[in-house]
C-alpha cells in the first residue's frame, strides 16, 4: 500500500487529482448550488466541446506535434453544417455526416503539409488557424448567421439521458476510444514512441509519418463533431464559433501532464486537466462574493493560468530536487578515486 501510494504520488497527475478533489470540496462548501445535478449538467455542457478538442489534441502533442487550427476548424465546420442544412436543405444526419467528412479533409490538409512536405506542425497549423477561420468568414461574409435549427437537433444540445447531457455521453465515448487507442493498442502506442524519439521509431520500423497523419485527421473529425454539438447548444452557426478553443484544449492537455515536447502523457491526465479547469471556472461563478462582483470569468482565466504554471513549475522543481538529493547521496558515499 505504501509503495502504491508513493508510486501514485510520484505521478504528475496525482497532484492534479488532489487539486480537483480540493476544488470540489471547496466549491461544495463555499459555492451556491454546486452539488446539484443542474450544475454538473452545466459544467458538462460548457466544457464538452473544449474537452473533445483536448482529447484529440493529446495524441498530437504526445507525438511531439501541436494543432492550433482546431478552434478555427470548429468555426468552419459549424458554418458548413449551416450551409448544408439551410442552403442545400439537406437532412440533418446527412449534413452531419458530410460535415464530419469536411473535418477529416481539413485535418488531412494539416496532415499532408506536416508529413509529406515535412513542415513544422506549429507553422502549418498557425497557417490553417487563419485559413479555416478566414474561409468561415468568407462563406458567411462575416455577417450571416444560420439559425432556426429543428427542435430534434437542438435537443442534442439541451436534453439529458440518465441525468447527463447528451454531449456528455458523446464525450465519454470519445474519451474511452482515445484511452484505448493510446494505451491499449500497438497502433496508438506508436504515438508515445514517436514523441519520445522520432528517429528511433523509424529505425524500429514504425510508419512514423502515417501515424502522425492519423492524429491530425482524427483531430479534424472530432473538431467537426464538436462543431455540431456547439451549434446544437447555441442554436446558431456563426463564423466566430470556437474562437480561442485551441488554446484552452492545449491548456487542459499540458496541465494533465502531457509533455509539450512529446513522448510523455496519459489520457487519464488529460481528463483530469479538462475536469479541473471546468470545475474551477464554473465553481467560481457560484461563490456569492465573486458572482456579485461579476468577475467569475476573469478570475477563472487568471486561476487557470496560475494553476498551469504552478503545476508545471511544481513538477520540474520536484524533479530537480530529487536529482539533487540523489546526487548528494552519491557524493556522501566514499569515492576514493577523485583527483583533479
Amino acid at each position: 500500500m505504501n509503495t502504491f501510494l508513493k508510486r501514485l504520488l510520484a505521478r504528475p497527475e496525482a497532484i492534479l487529482f488532489f487539486v480537483l478533489v480540493a476544488e470540489i470540496v471547496f466549491f461544495s462548501v463555499a459555492g451556491r448550488n454546486f452539488n446539484t445535478s443542474d450544475n454538473v449538467a452545466n459544467i458538462v455542457r460548457h466544457s464538452a466541446e473544449i474537452g473533445m478538442l483536448a482529447l484529440v489534441m493529446m495524441p498530437i502533442i504526445l507525438t511531439g506535434g501541436i494543432d492550433l487550427s482546431v478552434g478555427s476548424l470548429l468555426g468552419l465546420c459549424a458554418v458548413i453544417f449551416g450551409v448544408f442544412t439551410h442552403e442545400w436543405k439537406m437532412a440533418m444526419p446527412l449534413a452531419a455526416a458530410l460535415t464530419l467528412g469536411v473535418g477529416a479533409m481539413a485535418g488531412g490538409v494539416n496532415a499532408a503539409l506536416i508529413t509529406v512536405l515535412r513542415l513544422p506542425p506549429l507553422i502549418v497549423t498557425l497557417g490553417t488557424f487563419s485559413l479555416f477561420r478566414g474561409l468561415a468568414e468568407a462563406i458567411t461574409k462575416g455577417t450571416m448567421t444560420y439559425r432556426d435549427f429543428s427542435p430534434e437537433f437542438i435537443a442534442l444540445g439541451r436534453e439529458r439521458w440518465m441525468g447527463l447531457p447528451l454531449q456528455g455521453w458523446l464525450f465519454i465515448l470519445i474519451a474511452i476510444g482515445i484511452a484505448v487507442l493510446v494505451h491499449r493498442t500497438t497502433f496508438g502506442r506508436a504515438f508515445r514512441a514517436i514523441g519520445f524519439s522520432p528517429e528511433g521509431s523509424r529505425y524500429a520500423g514504425l510508419p512514423v509519418q502515417r501515424r502522425i497523419a492519423f492524429t491530425y485527421v482524427l483531430a479534424g473529425i472530432v473538431a467537426a463533431l464538436a462543431a455540431i454539438v456547439f451549434t446544437a447548444r447555441l442554436r446558431q452557426a456563426r463564423a466566430d464559433a470556437g474562437t480561442g478553443y485551441e488554446l484552452q484544449a492545449i491548456t487542459a492537455v499540458v496541465l494533465g501532464g502531457t509533455s509539450i515536447f512529446g513522448g510523455v502523457g496519459t489520457v487519464g491526465g488529460t481528463l483530469l486537466g479538462i475536469a479541473s479547469v471546468a470545475v474551477l471556472t464554473t465553481g467560481l461563478k457560484l461563490i456569492p462574493a465573486i458572482a456579485l462582483a461579476g468577475i467569475g470569468s476573469e478570475l477563472g482565466s487568471l486561476l487557470t493560468g496560475a494553476l498551469l504554471i504552478l503545476a508545471l513549475a511544481g513538477g520540474t522543481l520536484a524533479k530537480s530536487l530529487a536529482v539533487r538529493r540523489s546526487r548528494r547521496q552519491s557524493h556522501a558515499a566514499p569515492k576514493p578515486t577523485i583527483t583533479t
Partner: protein, 336 residues
Amino acid sequence: MKRSTFLTSLLAFALVTACDKKSDSSSAGNSSDGKKLTIALLPKSKGNQYFATVEKGARAAAAELGVELIYDGPTNTDPAKQNEIVEGWVNYGVNVIAAACENREGISGALKAAQEKGIKIVTYDSDTTPDARSFFVNQATAQGIGETLMDTAAKLCGEEGEFAIITATLTAANMTEWRKNIEARLAAKYPKMKLVTTKPCDDQKDKAQAEATNILNAYPNLKCIMAICSPAVPGAAEAVKQAGKAGVVKVLGLGLPSENRQYVKDGVTQAVILWKVEDLGYLTIQAAVAAAKGTLKTGDKTFTSGKLGAMEIQDTDIILGKPFVFTKENIDQFQF
C-alpha cells in the same frame, strides 16, 4: 499505472455526481421570504462604455430598491459566453435576469429554461424572442428617433432650407424605419425644408467624411447635415470643419456624446441625439424588480418607475421615452 489515473478521474467524476442533491430552486422567483432579491444584469459586452453607463444607472436603482445586483457579461460580444453566463445564473439562483441579447434566437433557449425555474426575464437594449421574456425595456421607438431628429434639424435651420442625410446603408432595417419617420415628420410639419440627398457611408467614419465633402460641394446652399449612424456624426463634422463651414452648415446626428464631445464644444456639431443610457439601466432594474414582486404584470398600460415617473407600455414593451438631445450646454454631464 495508466489504468489507475483513468480510474481516479472517473472516481472524481463520480464524487461530483454522488453528492448530488436537488437544486435549491425555491429561492428563485420567491420574493416574500424576506430574502433580498438578486437581479442579474447581462450586457452585450462588459467593457463597452455604453453598457458601463447602463450599469451605473442600474446600480442606482438597485441601491434605491434594496436589491442585490450582479453585473456580468462577455469581455467582447460573444453569444456563446452570454449563454454560459445565463446558465450559470440559473444555477446560482437569481430572481430576475435582465439581458441585452447579442443573439436573439440563440439565447432564447437558455432564457426559457430559466423561466421554467421560476426566474423572471426582462430584456433591454436588444430583445430576444417575445416568448422567452416578460418585458422588453425599449430605449427608443423608430418614431421617437425619427421625430426628434427632424424636429432638432428644423430648429437648427430655422425651419427652412436644404438638408442632407448620411446613413449607414440604404437597406439596413432600423435606419430605413428611421428615415421613413423623418420623411413623414418633414412632410407633416416643415413645408419650407427640403431633403436634397441621402447617402450611405457603410458605417465608416472615413466614408462619411468623403460623402459629406461631396455633399457640401454639390449643394452650396445646404444648411444642415443629419447623420443617422454613429460613425457618420464625427465624419460629417470633420468634413464641415475642413471645408471651413463650421457653424454655417449645421451638423446633428445619432451617436455617443463621447465620440462627438470635441466637435460639439468647437461648435461644429450642434446636437447629438441618443437616449439617456443611464436611465435605460435604471428603468431596466426598476422593471425587473417590479416584475419579480408582481407589481408589474402583462397587460399593464403604464409603469411607474421611481425617479423617472410613469412610463408608457406598448404591448410588452416598456418605452423609455423620447430620445435626449445632447448640446454644448449639457454634453459634459455625460461620460458615455
